[in-house]
């Protein structure tokens, strides 16, 4: 870690030196509910995501700068094809998708209730990602398709097969883009540091979205995250997520996310390109009632190779 950057961060107005007790990694074992409560309380002790991140950075004495020689260590070998371990379309994998453990503000509750009411009245919904726009973060964590994770000394790439989606985590000591020059995007801007084989990261400048379809809550454009990723065994990555959203959450939302390396003995599983225009039968329209419908089908041979209905005709 570049100490100069660290000092700048620690003396920034957003940093509050709290007399907070550090909570390290806690296993997802038979004591998980107690551990989870402790991790939830840890997040709640901070006024915002940035003060939590700086506290973690200070607790790690500025973090460790990795080298290419470190990459052969098991802690940094995140190779393989992974998928989300469990949780389905629930942001909190410990519960079903029609529930939430988020502590919502009045505004957050109102948005969720409106989603529920709309689905009850129409019998369906439209998902904005139907046209292959990225799911965005923190929804990124819930997507169920293939993932690859690439650790290098200066950056870590968190790759989602879905819509060719990559989260880049800069671990070279750089700061976030300045507020004056920043703009919001699906995956925002992520910086991080390593400590004892654990990648700690902070993400901001995100666009609003939903944690998932169905009755999962929405998040606002002020959402920010602190995450701690680590490999817990040869085939499993786990991550602590603290989501901060002053508009929709009255308290940070803690969850433990997980990805499992898949069996791939024949090497058939590979990350391949996603394009909603690749097959015209995949065009999804939003109906006036807010639900989803396919465009007219052609069902002719080779229409998967055509780019539009006009070209077919």
């Amino acid at each position: 870690m570049k100490k100069f950057t660290l000092l700048l961060m620690m003396f920034s107005p957003a940093y509050q030196a709290l007399s907070q007790e550090y909570v390290g990694w806690l296993p997802k074992d038979e004591n998980w509910q107690d551990n989870k409560s402790q991790l939830q309380a840890f997040g709640e002790a901070f006024e915002n995501s940035w003060s939590m991140y700086l506290f973690l950075l200070e607790s790690a004495d500025g973090g460790e700068m990795l080298s290419w020689q470190d990459m052969s260590a098991p802690a940094y070998d995140w190779s393989g094809i992974f998928t989300r371990t469990s949780g389905g379309l629930s942001f909190d994998p410990d519960i079903s998708a029609d529930e939430t453990t988020a502590k919502l503000t009045e505004a957050g509750r109102a948005v969720r209730q409106q989603k529920i009411a709309d689905m009850e009245s129409t019998g369906g919904e439209y998902d904005p990602i139907s046209d292959c726009r990225p799911p965005g973060h923190p929804r990124w964590a819930t997507e169920p398709f293939l993932h690859e994770f690439v650790v290098t000394p200066d950056q870590t790439w968190l790759i989602n097969e879905m819509v060719n989606d990559v989260r880049r985590v800069y671990t070279d000591g750089r700061a976030h883009t300045s507020v004056e020059d920043a703009y919001a995007s699906a995956n925002g801007d992520t910086i991080g540091f390593w400590t004892s084989g654990m990648l700690v990261m902070h993400t901001k400048y995100l666009i609003p979205g939903q944690y998932q379809r169905g009755t999962q809550p929405d998040y606002s454009g002020e959402v920010e995250l602190v995450e701690r990723w680590r490999k817990i065994d040869e085939i499993t990555l786990e991550a602590d997520f603290w989501v901060f959203d002053p508009i929709h959450l009255s308290q940070p939302w803690y969850t433990r996310q997980s990805w499992t390396e898949l069996a791939n003995d024949d090497n058939y599983l590979r990350i391949r390109y996603w394009d909603c225009g690749e097959n015209q039968n995949n065009v999804i329209l939003e109906k006036e009632d807010g639900t989803s419908q396919f465009l007219d089908f052609d069902f002719i041979e080779d229409d998967a190779a055509a780019s539009s209905d006009e070209e077919i005709r």
Partner: protein, 130 residues
């Protein structure tokens, strides 16, 4: 043991007919249709694959049906490869039909050459063994 239960739950969740990339509002999950015909084309594409099946009607005309499944990587995890369903393959297929009556559905499972295949098994998590 707990891990195995979690993996099973995930498999069951998606087996209920949830499309992971778009809302499944256009399908009627209270109905199941059973269609027999021959494969016209297996469109092995992202984000969703389509199996086109030619069905001969009672009057001798042929109607092409389309059955949606997840994309190639999820089908591979279900053990269904592109080469498993060449054109001309006789097939019996079950699906949740479209609500609007068009000749398409959400593919549940199928029988080819006496073998059952289930594309929704592709969300089961089969861990690597290292």
């Amino acid at each position: 043991m707990k891990k195995n239960i979690a993996l099973l739950l995930m498999s069951c969740f998606f087996a209920q007919g949830v499309m992971a990339h778009h809302s499944a509002a256009m399908f009627d999950f209270n109905k199941v249709i059973d269609v027999s015909g021959v494969v016209k084309e297996f469109q092995y594409t992202n984000p969703h694959s389509w199996l086109l099946v030619d069905v001969t009607n009672e009057d001798g005309t042929v109607t092409t049906w389309g059955f949606e499944a997840e994309g190639p990587s999820t089908l591979m995890r279900a053990g269904i490869r592109k080469s498993d369903l060449p054109a001309g393959t006789p097939i019996s297929i079950r699906a949740n039909p479209m609500k609007d009556g068009r000749t398409a559905g959400a593919w549940i499972d199928a029988v080819i050459n006496g073998k059952m295949i289930n594309p929704r098994n592709g969300f089961a998590v089969t861990p690597a063994s290292r």
